[in-house]
Amino acid sequence: MSAAPDGHSPVTVLIVDDNPAKRLGLKAALAPLGHAIVEADSGLEALRAVMVQDFAVILLDVRMPVMDGFETAAHIRQRRQSEMTPIIFITAHAKNEIVNPDLYAEGAVDFIFAPVPPAELRSKVTVFANLFLRAEALAEQAREVQRSVDHLKLLTDSAPIGIFRTDAENRYVYTNPLWSDITGVSATDAAGRKWDTIMDPEERSRLRAELPDDAADWSELCHRFEIQLADGASRILLVTSRAIPDAEGGWVGTLANITAEAGAEAAMAEARDRATEASQLKSDFLANMSHEIRTPMNGVIGLTDLLLETDLDPGQRDYAQTVRNSGEALLAIISDILDFSKIEAGKFELDIGEFDLQATVDDVVDLLAGSAQAKGLEVVTAIESTVPAVVSGDRGRLRQVLTNLIGNAIKFTEEGEVVLRVSEDGIADGATVVRFEISDTGIGIAPETQGVIFQPFVQADTSSSRKYGGTGLGLAISGQLVALMAGDCGVSSALGEGSTFWFTISVPAVVAQATEASLPDDCLSGVEVLVVDDNATQRSVLSEQLSGWGMVVATAESAEDALDAMRTAASEGRPHAVALVDRGMPGMDGRELRDTIVADPDLAAEVVLMTDLSQDRDLGACLSLTKPLHQERLRTCLRIALGATADVEPANGRAPNGAHADEPETGRLLLVEDNPVNQKVAVAILSSAGYRVDAVTSGAAAVRAVTEHSYDAVLMDCQMPGMNGYETTAAIRADETAGTSIPIIAVTAGARAEDRERCLDAGMDDYLVKPVTKEALLTVVAKSLRVPA
């Protein structure tokens, strides 16, 4: 349909007149509107037309033969389809006809006098055409709405979930068939019932308690509940609903039967609980079993040790040695399993104490260096000067992780080097993060294995477990220990090129300051030193360390290069004062180089040889250091080489102590100690230094003793049954007259700072940690005797 010229949509107009000329005239008058025109030449014809189609308006001539306009109109009105169609009568007669009530009685809505004025006709037709169009549009909208409603109903009726709507009073207005299936309540029964009447009263009050008091505040709801059906079966249902946000209010919602899902969920939870319990049982069992195996195995090893000390022929010795080695190997595996199962069972506890980080690292490296050097591997340790000297942590566990990783590195490396680097990696939560990096030049690990290597029971590949043995638990344990020590671990590696394992631990620094051994040293500062080693890592680590002490460092990678460098330096008038020479180098070895230097009158350098544990000790008159190098030992050795021995402390770090040197001490001491073994040892130590010692085993006896005799000092065990050390001290102090305070030295098992505080607070003067060593005991006693009481 094309738009009418005046812009309105075209409609259909029926013209009824028996006179063709008049019909033509009307048509012509309407033509500009562009409407469709249907003509009828009689009333009968008109009736036929309205039966087949709707008209926007009917123009009806009043005077027609057979059936006149009034009669025609009456018939049109009688038909339901056309009862509302507007009719305009066209009449040529006098005005009295207008007032003829018939005109309206017959259903006319308007009239026009002939001859018809075209403008008036068009105006009237346009009004009715617009009315007709609007009515059509409304009818279409109504049909559309009905279609939507029909679709929605179809949807909710066939939905696989219960659907309902309630009114503002929460009474059911609509429920779909599935809702009835789920609840067992028919739609008719549901209508008008309160929405929660499908729950039992108990459930209802429980839900009410969960919801806000004012029902108007419930905008959304999601609730799970159980219902009993008429047949006694129960169902678990989940209802969700939302308030309808309009003035009338009410709710729409869904209801799902989740009986099956809830059952599956419960079964899963139960399965999980069972699995956890089983895993716990397994771990407990493993821990117990390991214990049970360990005990007799210790007996086997210990007794084999004893057996090995007896006279055996070589064959027997070999057998016994094999038993011992096998036992050790088995014990190591058992320990792994025990540790692992303890960690798994969450029973693993760290044993926190203060320890010297560098000494711990040196210990582990020393322990493993033998096996590395036996394979011809170079072991190099580099500890950065920023690493704290003393930290608080689990020394044993750190040793375990280091031993595992360095041990692995040595195990999987056939030639080259194993390098341990220790550095500071920032501060987190008040603790220093210390990073350990162990690099080797071994077989490496395939990329796909790197991701799982810290998981239990995984070895790089099955062939490696055949070749190298082990439980495959070592790295898993290390990883978990590191996690327990608030650290992290990882690996990077390339097949055939070696691996770098790293881990961090988070340890509060007790002595944060860099170790003294890494600070510039007056004796060494400015001294020219030549490092001669074929291993590049060793050269660079040594250079860094020596530079840190202020030395002027040059390096050479062979004895030949070293001689060239030394001769050049000597001829330029700045000869090397010290040469630090690796014993085992290809070509001319360290010993030959030493001999050459000594024999050359132009070269005055002191030679320090660095030797492996396995190399012979027949080094002649020369300073030597055993690799792996320890910082402190290296420094002492260099100072000795430079003739600065006078102020050097012995390399083992134990300061000579005047207290127990030559002349015997005099003084009378009271020892308060209930443990006979501890008492016996303390008495032995003190007596051997010349003191006269009285020993008592209780606080009460001590209080008595100090009133009966005059003592120069009291050694007081803190934890005794009955009156403890603190109380005893208080009692002694209470009896003292002003100005005569006897020195009291606490001997306690606690090494923490607060233990010390407590002793001092209780009135004691000094403090010793058990088990006492000779040196510590004598030092503290001598110190307290020197202080005027």
Binding site: H291, R294, T295, N298, G299, G302, L303, D305, L306, E309, E349, D351, D674, N675, P676, V677, N678, K680, V681, A684, I685, S688, Q719, P721, A749, K770, P771, V772, T773, K774
Partner: protein
């Protein structure tokens, strides 16, 4: 298992002293560990803590670090009072004691006291 430095120090007081000391230690500790087990079975954690403390003291003095630290754990767990007693690992104490005795015996060729 044994702190050699501590042991060497004791050795410096002479073999007789050492034999006597070890003898006293084993005699005493044998009895204490029996009491320890009894107290534990009786649920007397106070006594468990006290005895463990006592053994810890002498073990440490003889260089038995592992035994001392096993005792220390028992002592601490006894003090914190785990009512189930599950955290109190007496077996570790007994095991470490056995090992220490063996080690001491080895050093003294004092086979008479070995288990």
């Amino acid at each position: 298992m044994i702190d050699e430095a501590a042991f060497d120090e004791l050795r410096s007081f002479g073999d007789d002293f050492l034999v006597e000391l070890v003898g006293q230690f084993t005699e005493e500790t044998d009895a204490l560990l029996r009491q320890l087990r009894e107290s534990f079975d009786a649920g007397d954690t106070t006594a468990v803590g006290r005895i463990a403390h006592n053994v810890r003291g002498s073990a440490g003095q003889l260089g038995g670090r592992a035994l001392a630290s096993a005792c220390d754990r028992v002592e601490r767990n006894a003090i914190t009072g785990d009512p189930t007693g599950r955290a109190i690992d007496l077996r570790a104490v007994e095991l470490e004691y056995g090992r220490l005795r063996l080690a001491l015996a080895e050093r003294l060729t004092f086979v008479g006291v070995a288990p």
